[in-house]
């Protein structure tokens, strides 16, 4: 039995794009802060379907990309310790540190293991009491409930050989940092659907009001994104600045309260450095003092890290949306998915990886296959009111 999904229906997509074109009377600049959304936008060419003057800027929504270089280097130092089994989400393995990466360490014999769920790292610790298990707890608010539960479970089980290297980042402070920058061009945001599934959208309401920006909680499929963009443009054209929810099938205003309770039992808000951007106050989570025993930074001596980014890497500008990979001299030449210089080329959610996978800027381009490959030609001929 198959459902025909309205979120993949090309006729709905054509209607949405036609409505976006009908609704747009003014140039607008929008930003998404979600690696998954960036990936879909670039892969499906959604930014290329939009009317002239409507620009999508890809914000710092890739958690792998914004994990600070200091934390990556600490991870490498810990993973190199022969006592340690270093467990991590897969995407982090090829992120370049100052001199090497986790996958290279693994190749040289370090015990680095990919896990899908942080509970797998807890199980590993319980099963190998003679080894130190360290889990790299990165992510946005979406991942915090899982990472928090791992720490909570470890405490419940009385594990003494489990610790976490924490590097959580939060979306609303990043939004405010972008909006309060003197060079800001963003006029509306698409908010990350799964971040909001956990956190709800209440904390975006004061941002929308204070900066007069529409914020639309949006899903991840092509039609979710088109609908979210349409809703944002609708607000901009009408001079409204509210928080709206496009991703109604998964997100409620209050989010998941149980998940947040566990997060705030284990974590508290603290300052956090974002790779390529710098320190944003109160933009991350750290372990609460009660859980200091599970803090890998306390358990292992990893101070005095001197970090060094590759000189050709412009990841900072990419993550802030002031440049695209096409502005980068190393893109596709020195820096490729196989040999990345910086984080946005590593992660499947990174802007550079998305561009590279879609073949943008890589020479005589085969036109990338997209959801609505014949869309622009068909709409151009029809004019307003045409199409289904």
């Amino acid at each position: 039995m198959k459902y025909i999904d309205e979120y993949r229906d090309a006729r709905v997509a054509r209607r949405l794009v036609a409505e976006i074109r009908r609704a747009t009377t003014h140039p607008w600049t929008l930003m998404e802060i979600c690696g998954g959304q960036t990936h879909t936008i670039v892969k499906q060419g959604i930014d290329e379907m939009l009317p002239d003057g409507v620009r999508m800027i890809h914000g710092p929504g890739c958690p792998v990309c914004v994990t600070p270089l200091e934390q990556v280097d600490k991870a490498l130092a810990i993973a190199a310790d022969p006592r340690v089994i270093f467990a991590s989400y897969g995407d982090m393995l090829r992120v370049p540190g100052s001199t090497t990466d986790l996958l290279s360490l693994k190749a040289r014999g370090a015990d680095v293991r990919v896990v899908y769920s942080p509970l797998d790292a807890v199980r590993l610790a319980a099963a190998t009491p003679d080894r130190e298990v360290v889990f790299f707890a990165i992510g946005f608010e979406t991942t915090a409930p899982a990472n928090a539960m791992a720490v909570w479970q470890a405490a419940q089980l009385g594990l003494r050989n489990f610790s976490v290297l924490v590097s959580h980042v939060l979306v609303p402070p990043a939004m405010e940092a972008i909006l309060s920058s003197p060079s800001n061009q963003v006029q509306a945001f698409l908010a990350a659907g799964h971040v909001c599934a956990v956190m709800g959208w209440q904390e975006y309401e004061p941002i929308a009001a204070r900066y007069r920006v529409p914020i639309v909680v949006t899903g991840f499929e092509p039609l979710d994104l088109l609908e979210g963009i349409l809703m944002a443009i609708g607000q901009l054209e009408e001079g409204r600045a509210e928080v709206e929810n496009q991703y109604t099938r998964a997100v409620r205003r209050g989010g998941n309260q149980l998940a947040r309770e566990t997060v705030f039992r284990v974590f508290e808000v603290g300052d956090r450095t974002w790779r390529g951007i710098g320190m944003i106050p109160a933009s991350g989570y750290r372990l609460k003092p009660a859980f200091a025993a599970f803090d890998a930074e306390e358990r292992f001596q990893v101070a005095d890290i001197e970090t060094r980014e590759h000189p050709a890497c412009i990841a900072g500008a990419i993550l802030q949306g002031t440049k695209t990979p096409l502005d980068c001299t190393a893109y596709g030449v020195l820096c490729t998915p196989r040999r990345p210089l910086g984080a946005p080329m590593v992660s499947s959610e990174g802007t550079c990886a998305a561009y590279h996978a879609a073949g943008r800027g890589l020479g005589p381009e085969p036109r990338p296959l997209k959801l609505l490959d014949d869309l622009q030609g068909g709409l151009g001929a029809g004019g307003p009111g045409a199409g289904s």
């Binding site: 792998v64 293991r113 979406t142 991942t143 956990v198 998940a259 499947s348």
Partner: protein
């Protein structure tokens, strides 16, 4: 990594004091922690992210999303990172062009 995908809860059980469930993702079955959606029942759909259910879905909309992800190919990549034993490689896009999604000929159910 941050992809949350919809799956159908087949059974609910307790393990080490945590509510766990067997979840079906279009034929592939994996465990997920249900502690954050304790009211869930077998037959319900959830969004699963890094092995945790974070939100409940309408069945109809969830199946639709599964269809879409399968067509785009992303779900195969995401499922490749899941599973016990955990030596799965990081999800990488090799840059190969993907098939355009076929437009179905059935009329829309809703606006």
């Amino acid at each position: 990594m941050c992809l949350g995908i919809p799956g159908k809860v087949l059974e609910v059980r307790e393990e080490n004091g945590l509510l766990m469930g067997r979840v079906d993702f279009g034929g592939v079955r994996k465990d997920a922690c249900l502690a954050y959606i304790p009211e869930i029942q077998a037959g319900d759909y959830v969004i699963v992210h890094v092995g945790f259910a974070i939100s409940r879905l309408d069945e109809e909309e969830a199946l639709s999303t599964l269809e879409l992800l399968r067509e785009i190919g992303a779900i195969d990549q995401e499922l490749a990172t899941m599973g016990p034993g955990m030596e799965a490689p990081a999800v990488l896009d090799d840059g190969a062009p993907r098939q355009a999604v076929d437009a179905p000929s059935r009329p829309l159910a809703t606006a």
